[in-house]
C-alpha cells in the first residue's frame, strides 16, 4: 500500500475511532472527559502552530489570538443564530446540531484565517524575532478588541454557549489537522515551507516566493487555531477574553518547542503530555504533605514553563523529537 493511502486510512480510522469513543463517553467521569477534550484541542493548536513555527520557521506568539477569534465567532453564531436553522430541520436533532456545529466551526476558522491574512501580510515581511513581538502585539490587540465588544459580553465574558463539543468532533478535527499538515509538508509544494525555514536567501534564489509561503502557513495555522477555539468554546460553554491571553499563546508555543519544532508526532505527543501534566500539577499544589515551596511552584506553572524553555534551549534546542539541521547546512 502506498504511503499516501496509509495516511488516508489513518485519518479515516481516527475519525471512526473517535466516533466510537464518543458513543461511550457517557461512561467517563465528566472531569476526565473535559481533560481528554482539552488534549484533543491542544493537539490541534500545537500541530497547527507547528506549521508556522516549526516547518516554516516563523516564530508566532499570537496563536491564542486566532483561537479567540474562532471561539468568539463560533460561539456567537451558534448562540444567536441557531433558532432559524433548528426550525428548518424540525428542532435540535442530531442532524441539525451537526450541521450547525460544522458551520460555526468553519466560520470561526475562516474568520481566524482572514485575520491571519490581515496580520500576516505586513508582519511576515519581518524576520524571526521581530515577528514574535508583532504577533504578540496582535494577540493583545485582538484581546483588547474583544474586551471592547459588548455584543459578546466584553470583559465579563460570554456564557450560555451550548456544549456541542464531543470526543468525536474534537478528535476528528485533531486528526484532520494532523492529516492536512503532514500531507502538505510531504507534497512537492509543501517542501517550500522547509526551504523557507532552512535558508530564506537560498529559497528566494531558486525562485520560491518566500512571502507567499509564509503567509500560507500563517493563514492555514490561524484557520485551525480558529476551529480549535470553536471547539474550546463549545466544550467549556463559557469564554472570556483573559482566557486567550499571552500565557495561553506561550502554552501552545511550549508544546511545539518541547515536542520539537518541525515534528508533528513529537508536537502532538508534547500536547498530550503537557495537558496531562498541567492537570496533575493542580493536584500536586493541593497535596498537604508536600513542602510549602513545592506546592507554590506547582501552583505557578509558568515558572516551570520558563525553566523548561531555558533548559531545553541550552541542552536540547531541537526539542524532544526534533532533528537538528543537517551538518554543513548553510543556515545560521
Amino acid at each position: 500500500m502506498k504511503y499516501r493511502h496509509i495516511k488516508k486510512f489513518a485519518l479515516l480510522g481516527a475519525i471512526l475511532l473517535s466516533a466510537l469513543a464518543s458513543h461511550f463517553s457517557g461512561a467517563i467521569n465528566s472531569y476526565y472527559l473535559q481533560v481528554v477534550l482539552f488534549i484533543g484541542i491542544n493537539i490541534t493548536l500545537a500541530v497547527s502552530l507547528n506549521l508556522i513555527n516549526g516547518y516554516t520557521g516563523q516564530f508566532s506568539l499570537g496563536h491564542a489570538g486566532f483561537m479567540a477569534i474562532g471561539a468568539y465567532v463560533a460561539a456567537y453564531l451558534s448562540t444567536e443564530h441557531s433558532v432559524g436553522l433548528f426550525r428548518l430541520f424540525g428542532g435540535a436533532n442530531i442532524f441539525s446540531v451537526s450541521l450547525l456545529f460544522i458551520g460555526v466551526l468553519l466560520a470561526g476558522g475562516l474568520a481566524a484565517a482572514v485575520v491571519g491574512l490581515i496580520v500576516g501580510v505586513p508582519s511576515l515581511r519581518l524576520k524571526g524575532d521581530y515577528l514574535a513581538i508583532v504577533t504578540l502585539g496582535f494577540g493583545e490587540i485582538i484581546r483588547v478588541l474583544i474586551q471592547n465588544t459588548d455584543a459578546v459580553g466584553g470583559p465579563r465574558g460570554y456564557s450560555g454557549i451550548a456544549g456541542y463539543t464531543t470526543l468525536f468532533w474534537t478528535y476528528s478535527v485533531a486528526a484532520l489537522t494532523i492529516y492536512v499538515v503532514v500531507s502538505l509538508i510531504d507534497s512537492t509544494y509543501g517542501r517550500g515551507f522547509l526551504t523557507v525555514r532552512d535558508d530564506e536567501v537560498a529559497a528566494e534564489a531558486v525562485g520560491i516566493n518566500t512571502t507567499r509561503y509564509k503567509v500560507t502557513a500563517f493563514v492555514l495555522g490561524a484557520f485551525f487555531a480558529g476551529v480549535a477555539g470553536g471547539l474550546y468554546a463549545h466544550s467549556t460553554t463559557y469564554i472570556n477574553p483573559s482566557g486567550f491571553d499571552f500565557q495561553r499563546s506561550i502554552e501552545i508555543v511550549i508544546m511545539v518547542i518541547l515536542g520539537g519544532m518541525g515534528s508533528t508526532a513529537g508536537v502532538a505527543f508534547a500536547a498530550i503530555v503537557l495537558t496531562l501534566l498541567l492537570e496533575y500539577l493542580r493536584f500536586v499544589s493541593g497535596y498537604e504533605w508536600l513542602p510549602e515551596i513545592v506546592r507554590r511552584i506547582a501552583a505557578n506553572r509558568m515558572i516551570i514553563y520558563s525553566l523548561v524553555l531555558i533548559a531545553l534551549m541550552l541542552l536540547r534546542p531541537q526539542g524532544l523529537f526534533g532533528r537538528l539541521p543537517r551538518r554543513g547546512s548553510l543556515s545560521k
Binding site: 508582519s123 515581511r125 524575532d129 513581538i133 514553563y305 520558563s306 524553555l309 534551549m313
Partner: protein
C-alpha cells in the same frame, strides 16, 4: 480641543514618552550589538520598580530635610546598579552560551528568561499589586515667591510654576522629574557612546563584529557593558514609571516592554536617537488617543503604529535599510 488642552496633553504625553524612551534605548543598544531582541528587557524594568519599592524605605529615611533629593538620587543609582548587574548576569548565564546558535534558539531562551523573571517575581514578591512608596511628593508645580539664592532649587521651581500658571498648564513634580531624569540619562548615554573608549568599541562591534574583534576589541566585554547600560536605563525607567503609576506588580513589565520595543522600531532599531524619538512619539500619540473617544483602544494604538511603520518604512525613522549579505 483648545490649545491649552492640547499643550497639557502634550506634556502628559512627553512624560509618558520619557519612560518608553528609556526602555527603548536598552532594546536598541542590545539589538545594535547582538542583532537580537532581548525579550526580558521589559522585565528588567519591572525589577527596577520593585528595587525602588524595597529600597526606598531603607534608604530614604537616612536623608532628611534638604538632603531628601539626594536620597532619591541614591535610590535611583542603587536601582540602576542592581538592574545593570541583573542584565549582565542574564546575558552571561542565558545568552552567552547560545551566541553561535541559531537566532531562534536565543529568542526562545529570551522568552524563557522573561517568563522566569515575571513569574519568579510573582513567586517572590506575590502576585497582588503593591503601592509604590511616595519617593517624590506629587504636586503641581506652583508659583511660591520670587527668586532667592538661599533655596535655589525650590525658587527655580517656583519660577517655572509661575510660567506654567500664566500659560494655564499643570505640570506635576513627578512629570518634571521624569522628563529631567530622562534627558540627563540620554545626555549621559550619548556621552558614553560617543566619547568613551567602551562606547566607541560598542559602535565598532555594532558596525562589524568580526572586524572589531580583529582590531583587538573584546566582544564579551562590550556585550556585557551594553547589557549593563541598557538594563540600568530600564531600571531608572521602572522607578520613574512606578512614581507616576504607583501600583506595581510582577507582570507590569510586559506591556510597557512591548510598547517600548515598538518605539525602538519606530525610531529605527539600532539607532540611539531613534529610540528616544520613537519613545516620545509613542508616548504623545498614546496620550492623545487616551484623551479621545477611543480611549479604550489606548493599548492597541502602539501596535497599529507598528503595522503602519512596518508597511511604509520598515527601517524606522532613523534607520537605514540594509541588504542582507550572504
Amino acid at each position: 480641543m483648545s490649545s491649552t488642552e492640547f499643550f497639557q496633553q502634550l506634556i502628559n504625553g512627553l512624560s509618558l514618552g520619557a519612560f518608553y524612551a528609556l526602555i527603548a534605548l536598552g532594546y536598541t543598544m542590545v539589538y545594535g550589538v547582538l542583532r537580537f531582541i532581548n525579550f526580558a528587557h521589559g522585565d528588567v524594568f519591572m525589577i527596577g520598580a520593585f528595587c525602588g519599592y524595597y529600597l526606598t524605605p531603607r534608604i530614604l529615611p537616612h536623608f532628611t530635610g534638604a538632603w531628601a533629593p539626594l536620597g532619591v538620587v541614591a535610590v535611583m543609582l542603587s536601582t540602576m546598579l542592581i538592574c545593570a548587574a541583573l542584565g549582565i548576569l542574564i546575558e552571561r548565564l542565558a545568552y552567552r552560551p547560545l551566541r553561535s546558535r541559531p537566532k531562534l534558539t536565543v529568542l526562545i531562551t529570551a522568552i524563557g528568561v522573561s517568563l522566569f523573571l515575571e513569574y519568579g517575581g510573582q513567586f517572590l514578591f506575590g502576585a497582588d499589586p503593591k503601592p509604590f512608596p511616595e519617593l517624590i511628593v506629587d504636586r503641581p508645580i506652583e508659583y511660591a515667591g520670587p527668586l532667592s539664592l538661599h533655596r535655589p532649587l525650590s525658587s527655580v521651581l517656583s519660577q517655572m510654576g509661575g510660567f506654567f500658571e500664566r500659560v494655564g498648564l499643570t505640570v506635576t513634580t513627578i512629570q518634571l522629574v521624569a522628563m529631567t531624569v530622562a534627558i540627563l540619562l540620554l545626555l549621559a548615554l550619548t556621552f558614553i557612546v560617543k566619547r568613551t573608549k567602551l562606547g566607541i568599541a560598542m559602535r565598532a562591534v555594532s558596525n562589524n563584529p568580526t572586524a572589531a574583534a580583529l582590531m583587538g576589541i573584546n566582544i564579551d566585554t562590550v556585550v556585557s557593558f551594553t547589557f549593563g547600560l541598557g538594563s540600568a536605563l530600564a531600571g531608572a525607567g521602572g522607578i520613574l514609571y512606578a512614581l507616576s503609576y504607583p501600583s506595581i506588580d510582577p507582570l507590569m513589565g510586559l506591556l510597557p516592554g512591548v510598547k517600548a520595543f515598538v518605539a525602538a522600531v519606530l525610531g529605527g532599531i539600532g539607532s540611539i536617537p531613534g529610540a528616544a524619538v520613537g519613545g516620545i512619539i509613542l508616548g504623545v500619540v498614546e496620550t492623545f488617543v487616551g484623551g479621545s473617544a477611543f480611549s479604550t483602544y489606548r493599548d492597541a494604538i502602539a501596535f497599529a503604529l507598528l503595522i503602519g511603520i512596518l508597511l511604509f518604512r520598515p527601517a524606522g525613522i532613523f534607520g537605514r535599510m540594509q541588504a542582507e549579505k550572504v
